[in-house]
Amino acid sequence: MAEAVRRLDEMNPLLWLVLRRVLLSFVSFLVVSVIIFTAVDILPGDTAQRALGREATAESVAILRSEMRLSDPAIVRYGRWLGDFVSGDLGTSMVSKRPVADYLVPPLRHTLLLGAIVLAVHIPLSLFLGLVCALTRDTPLDLGLSALVLVAMSVPDFVVGIFLIVVFSVELGWFPPLALIDQATSWTDMLYMLTLPILALNAAMTAYVVRQTRDSMIEVLNSDFVRVARLRGLPPLQIVLAHALPSALGPAINAIALNAAWLVGGIVVIEAVFNYPGLGRLLVEGVRFHDVPIIQAIALILSGTHIALNLAADIGTTLLNPKLRTRSS
């Protein structure tokens, strides 16, 4: 009992820290929602006019304006929009006249799926490569990987995607150029279709985490406690994995979370490259057709995810560091 109380007490500062971060993220989300609403709604040009195009008659514009209650003050419309959004009503598509929520679900699922698989490949792969670089530092292997990292970092993701299509679809014919996942018949078929998008996104992300892991791991391997662990005759594998890695993981996790947050934007472009039926492609279409409710909904979902991932990174880094996790005496 006393033990439980003591532990709770030790956990308290952490709880407080996490709570504060969550609150801050929530505020960020609200501000972001204002920005998104403003960017789409208050920018020059009338929403109704833009939605209907130049050829629209004055009457049809007026009808749409009243339908959308555009004459209300912006703040009222914002409140209504956010309130509806939170209660699950994402509005009605101006192009298809169907509720946005209805046809947002399958693309959302597709995007989450792609993102999840990309991260599932990304995290172990980049940590492993970073570790290899750190352990073989300044050897040709490390230098080669580091050079590759700079190149991969510099090539824009959609260019990587295009090159992958050119090489593996057009020239070699190994993989389909388009990830038309709706037509997938099985899990393996789906993974096969997703191979190139997964590769393209990983190519852009891996570099950074490898670099961060390598650098922080090298720093930790040079630290006093790793030297002393060696001088205590501990097994090398244990020293690397149990003593050094946890301390080096902070910057790496941070980099991974930044990548995950980057992925929210990167996936939009890669979906367009591979014609993948996800949120990103829907967003691009929405923007093309000035479908305001769709744009707002997707932008808010993606930005919210972005904020949530950054929050997760923050909390994750905190949890990994016992100095932040427990009160010092």
Binding site: I35, D157, V287, A299, H306
Partner: protein
Amino acid sequence: MSDSKIFAEWIAAASVPPARPRRSGTRAFLARLPRAARVAALVLLVYALVSALAPWLAPFSPAEIFVGAPFEPPSATHFLGTDALGRDVFSRVLYGGRTALLMAGGAALLTTAVGGALGLVLSYCGGLADEIGMRFLEVLASIPSVILALLVVGALGPSIAVVVVTVGLLAVPSSTRVVRAAALAFVAEDFVLAARARGEGRLAIALREILPNVAGTLLVEFSIRTGWAVILIGALAFLGFGAPPPTPDWGAMINEGRGGLDASIWPVVAPAAAIAALVLTVNLLTDGIARALGPAR
């Protein structure tokens, strides 16, 4: 996109914000530039020259259709073949360099100017204004840049000016943060305190005492932002929100050529290679500049 944001962080991590140069002067700076960066500078110069001289170097007009048959393979007449409309890919790539360099350079200039000014102001004001400003910029940065760019460019309609200004302003938060951090290192320095003691005004101190010391940071920032802007502008054009059609643009060329990949890869591969090489070159140069300005290692 944030490829370059990430790159920027890497640079920041690799080099402590440039302290006062040990030996000032362009020559000393050039002497410290790593070899890779010098090569990159040369390549960039070639890019700039080729873009500037495109009207004389290009064998065909970039917009004229059916100067050859559609999807011709590379030949002595059409070095990089022709696209679906029979336009000369080589000429289009040359002209595309102008679009890319001018737009990205303009956006980066805007970013650095606005971000630099904001950073200086915030670092010198401190207090509540600083706190509120930084928080707001932080929140602004929490919207993925492609998405925000899509929203704004989509709402305003794509034009060269809209794309440049949008992309330029999008990077302001991170530029402000970097410049502010660099400037803060000097706010408490003796020479700033001395200037304050002499009774100089805030603006005078910011411009005369602090600005010269963050000039290196601004240069690195400009360089980073150029690479970043090339990518974002390319991505926007690829998505169909770049400079409007007659303007030859690499991103747009890649997008247009995708449908005809089975017929010819050149209309896609050529601009893709051009954009990749340009970003790589700019990043190498950035890395070199940061190293040359940073403390000796």
